[in-house]
Amino acid sequence: MADLLEADQPLLIADSLSKSYGRIAACREVSFSLYPGEVLAIVGESGSGKSTLLQLLSGQLAPSGGHVSYRMRDGVTRDLAALGEAERRLLFRTDWGFVHQDPAQGLRMAVSAGANVGERLMAVGWNHYGRIRESASDWLTRVEIDVARIDDAPRTYSGGMRQRLQIARNLVTGPLLVFMDEPTGGLDVSVQARLLDLLRTLVAELHLAVVIVTHDLAVARLLSHRVMVMKGGRVIETGLTDQVLDDPREPYTQLLVSSILPP
């Protein structure tokens, strides 16, 4: 892990990213670099532009200004906008993951858990049922889902299980970068704790770079190395997670931090 964190080449670079809808600027001049194995939390309240930023970073939304670059497996850093659609989609099925807040958006609800996990493998040409199933079983175990449920559709799963299944589905191809949009939102507190712990372990074990959008500062503290605080589409404060949360500088960040109920 030490080597990865000290890798001197960023994996993802945002360069003055902006997005406006008419006169409304959802995201203004956001720049940062994300390194392999690094977890960056984007915090802020609803409407602060954090979800828009996530969509810009993951190439799902075209920016009005600025660029996103990603270092491909061949070591060449390329502008996402210059990638062909086939390349971008391949990236999304292999090197990248995206964990949605609502698992129904990230899963095929009518298809068995095993096939949900196996889909990305089949998409990159795995053609051996036994091996696909073995890999799916392995991943279900890693996300603490009973392998006996492998043939059940996620419709029959609880909210926490669905979210864990979505994570397995994303991680099966060994991605380098995972985007997460409020992954613990909408879950019970006890279920949240379990999921956070699991995420934390997996992120460390797999040396994942993560961009996680959350309004929950406790999630940011537990998972992230670095925090970006957004307000009105702008990044108003950024730094080490514990630094920003323990020694917030900006008025808005101080307000956010002081709004947390003591544990």
Binding site: R108, S112, E119, M122, H128, Y129, R133, D151
Partner: protein, 298 residues
Amino acid sequence: MNAPAYNFAYLDEQTKRMIRRAILKAIAIPGYQVPFASREMPMPYGWGTGGVQVTAAILGPQDVLKVIDQGSDDTTNAISIRKFFAKTAGVGTTTATDQATVIQTRHRIPEAALHENQVLVYQVPIPEPLRFLEPRETETRRMHALAEYGLMHVKLYEDIARFGHIATAYAYPVKVNARYVMDPSPTPKFDNPKMDNCPALQLFGAGREKRIYAIPPYTQVVSLDFEDHPFEPYRFNAPCALCGAENSYLDEIVTDDRGSRMFVCSDTDYCEGRQAAGHHGALSAAPYKDKAQGDANG
């Protein structure tokens, strides 16, 4: 022409040209679904409006037409389409596979080997093989464009997970010319191997869905599968009860209200041909063995 109120083969010439252009494009890109401006036909959707338009566009006065429905020449659908073209185009019709130049079919490929001077026209209800897993047409088109076919294997995976083997028995997905994944219309997977390297031209028309696609002669057609669960054509336990054929596709016929049944060739022409040549099955003395000739009267 014996039906002067209609243009030859019912459709006007401009429409036929439009359909022919779509067919040519379909032949040029094997397995690719070409959109076309499907017309209203004097029959309901689901009765072969796509196949009929394709047939209308390719028929010439010298053609001999055969129409089958589930392999049979004498079902309502087959007979009415055959009569339709006999009336509007005045072409000759036949039930004999080897004498036909155009064969329109619903759900079967004839047992007799096709040859180079034949065109097989399939009636297709749903042309999109990815539809049931990905309902968005915009997305499935993109998947075809980028040859992203992992999803097709998800369906086969589900089959094995649920039934222990690939249980898809009809509309079994194929890859055409190593590029496009195609739905071979609801033919039984028994017929899939006949599509591969077939000397005849195969055209597919979906009227409601407004799509035409094609397999040119001698084109590679591979049924999708897994390495450890290879494609297996369906096999029957018994030979045809009428003609004794051991390698044809059989229909199950219930013969009384006490559960008795018999299995007979679904391809009536093939079965009758064999019986005429002296082949016999276990029940070939059945009372309805009388042979229908030409345009059977129902």
